[in-house]
């Protein structure tokens, strides 16, 4: 089906984008690989260190920090994406089925999405101050910022608030393309509400769910704004994430070698997770399969 004439037309159209991405992404990435192999010795001379920057983080003197950051990032990703999936699915079902107040819901859901993440971080930090409204509403007396699990929970709540609506909108788009006849057929066959959800809705939005989860997961694995602002520094062991660790070394300590090493390890981790997710669960992020199947479905 490849038409050589279309190929010739496409090259000049695609080239500006590829060249730009080459300059702003690929080139810095190669630089990162190069920089990650250098470091300063005791006399502050720049010396070639091979893979020593990486081994320092993986098994060496900095491994404590690295594995804590990796653990925090993974925990944050698993917990918040799971919650976002559940809440997003609930919100999407509500928006899909509710008739009265649907406009209100659709508008309300967009508000958290529109609030900049940095502002959401400060807002939730304020809500979770000891005298803040969270303690007032819950009737508790928790010093959220000082306790490891309380501060992690606060960051997860802030993230779920901010991003579950986005998840809901993606899932809603998937719900809206399910043909009504399927539900009617299921009803005629005697399927109850739960069975209709389980046997019709879920299989039909399976693809949309996987793509939404994949996108949110990759986003959560690089999380920076929320925990950084919540913690107030990149040194907080309870909240430090891989991106915060990379920022700490590359920017705050101007240790480019270590910073690049953390950054590349982060990238590797994200890539492996994405690859496994696509391989194991078959998330069709490019939409090529569904497009072929449904002949370019519209929603």
């Amino acid at each position: 089906m490849v038409d050589p004439r279309q190929g010739r037309t496409a090259v000049p159209l695609v080239l500006p984008t590829l060249l730009t991405l080459g300059v702003v992404v690929v080139f810095p990435l190669f630089q990162a690989v190069r920089l990650s192999m250098y470091g300063e010795n005791a006399d502050l001379d720049v010396v070639f260190r091979g893979i020593a920057n990486f081994t320092d983080f993986l098994v060496g003197p900095l491994s404590g920090q690295f594995w804590i950051a990796l653990g925090n990032t993974t925990l944050f990703t698993v917990v918040s994406v799971t919650l976002e999936l559940a809440i997003g699915l609930g919100m999407a079902m509500a928006m899909h089925h509710v008739v009265r107040g649907r406009g209100l819901l659709r508008a309300a859901v967009l508000v958290p999405w529109a609030v900049p993440t940095a502002m959401a971080a400060l807002l939730w930090k304020w809500i979770f101050t000891p005298h803040g409204v969270a303690n007032a509403v819950l009737g508790t007396d928790i010093v959220w910022g000082a306790e490891a699990w309380a501060s992690r929970l606060a960051v997860v709540v802030a993230d779920v608030w901010k991003t579950a609506p986005f998840m809901a909108l993606l899932i809603l788009a998937g719900l809206q393309v399910i043909p009504r006849e399927l539900y009617e057929a299921a009803r005629v066959d005697g399927a109850g509400a739960w069975q209709r959800f389980r046997r019709v809705t879920l299989p039909m939005i399976h693809g949309a769910l996987l793509v939404a989860v994949l996108m949110r997961m990759l986003d959560a694995l690089r999380v920076f704004d929320l925990p950084f602002l919540f913690a107030g520094s990149a040194d907080n062991e309870d909240l430090v994430t891989l991106s915060m660790l990379g920022y700490k070394y590359a920017v705050q300590q101007a240790d480019t070698g270590s910073g690049s090493a953390v950054a590349l390890l982060t990238l590797l981790y994200v890539a492996v997770v994405a690859y496994l997710f696509v391989r194991l669960l078959g998330a069709d992020a490019l939409g090529t399969r569904s497009a072929r199947k449904a002949g370019g479905r519209r929603s």
């Binding site: 190929g7 037309t9 496409a10 529109a114 304020w126 704004d225 590359a250 920017v251 950054a263 939409g287």
Partner: protein, 275 residues
């Protein structure tokens, strides 16, 4: 049936309250002053005041300058990303060529990129060039986020457009130019406009690049400036003025998003579920 109606009403109320509640609290805090703001929890402040806004805009914060910087950086980023990405999206949506899926995958992969992985080298390069505290040091890394988003969203939109209209216009005796001006541009305009809003919001909300590439307060973007607010007097909580400034930064976006609600949702899902 009555129970079901009531249940649905409750659902609507709960979701709306959960989504709007924190934002309402942001607005409430912005109009509440000390000491009430620190200990009181009533929704309506007993003595509403604009003092926090005055504090936010006070000279020591350079907040107005930060807003200008944000506007400039997000604006330039949006324009560049759209100009560069437009033709690419057209090719991806309309043409079949070898490597098409590769280009799609490459743009998707870069949009999912951890920003920190290119931050270290860019920081080193820009420091060497003396570009720290310049707009280009803010715009260039932003392009790596904005361009894939623009290409992705536009491609999603373009796939849904009735392109046959252009050929129909040509068959009906329009010249190429007429077909472009009278048929093609009106078709493309809403897609480009919506994409512009999405890209602008992303660039406006960007934090880690701006935090890395700026040292001087005059070059801070709004989110970085607000994060750096301190109380006017030592020990004064910065939160009330931060909330006031956050309202200033957020409200235009919310108004924009609500006005163009349908288009934005279409844009978000066009980019995400198709590609």
């Amino acid at each position: 049936m009555k129970i079901r109606t009531a249940l649905r009403a409750v659902t609507v109320v709960v979701i709306t309250a959960w989504c709007l509640g924190p934002f309402v609290w942001m607005v409430r805090t912005s109009f509440t002053t000390e000491p009430e703001v620190l200990t009181g929890n009533s929704l309506i402040p007993s003595a509403p005041s604009t003092a926090n806004y005055e504090a936010a805009f006070s000279a020591q914060n350079s907040f107005l300058r930060a807003l200008t910087n944000s506007l400039a950086v997000a604006g330039i980023t949006t324009v560049l990303a759209l100009i560069i990405g437009l033709t690419c999206a057209y090719a991806l949506a309309r043409l079949t060529f070898r490597g098409r899926n590769l280009v799609l995958a490459a743009t998707l992969a870069t949009s999912m990129f951890p920003m920190v992985s290119i931050l270290a080298p860019l920081f080193t390069i820009f420091t060497g060039l003396g570009w720290i505290d310049t707009y280009q040091a803010l715009v260039l890394p932003n392009i790596s986020l904005a361009l894939p988003l623009a290409v992705w969203t536009l491609t999603g939109f373009f796939r849904q457009l009735p392109w046959d209209l252009e050929e129909a216009a040509l068959v009906d005796g329009c010249t190429r130019r007429q077909a472009t001006r009278k048929v093609l541009l009106p078709l493309l305009a809403p897609a480009v406009f919506t994409t512009a809003i999405l890209v602008f919001i992303t660039a406006w909300n960007e934090f880690i690049i701006a935090l890395t590439m700026t040292n001087r307060q005059e070059m801070f973007t709004a989110p970085v400036a607000i994060a750096n607010f301190t109380g006017e007097i030592t020990h004064q909580s910065p939160f009330p003025s931060q909330m006031a400034a956050s309202v200033v930064v957020t409200l235009p976006l919310i108004v924009l998003v609500l006005i163009f609600q349908r288009r934005i949702v279409a844009g978000l899902t066009a980019g995400a579920t198709k590609g």
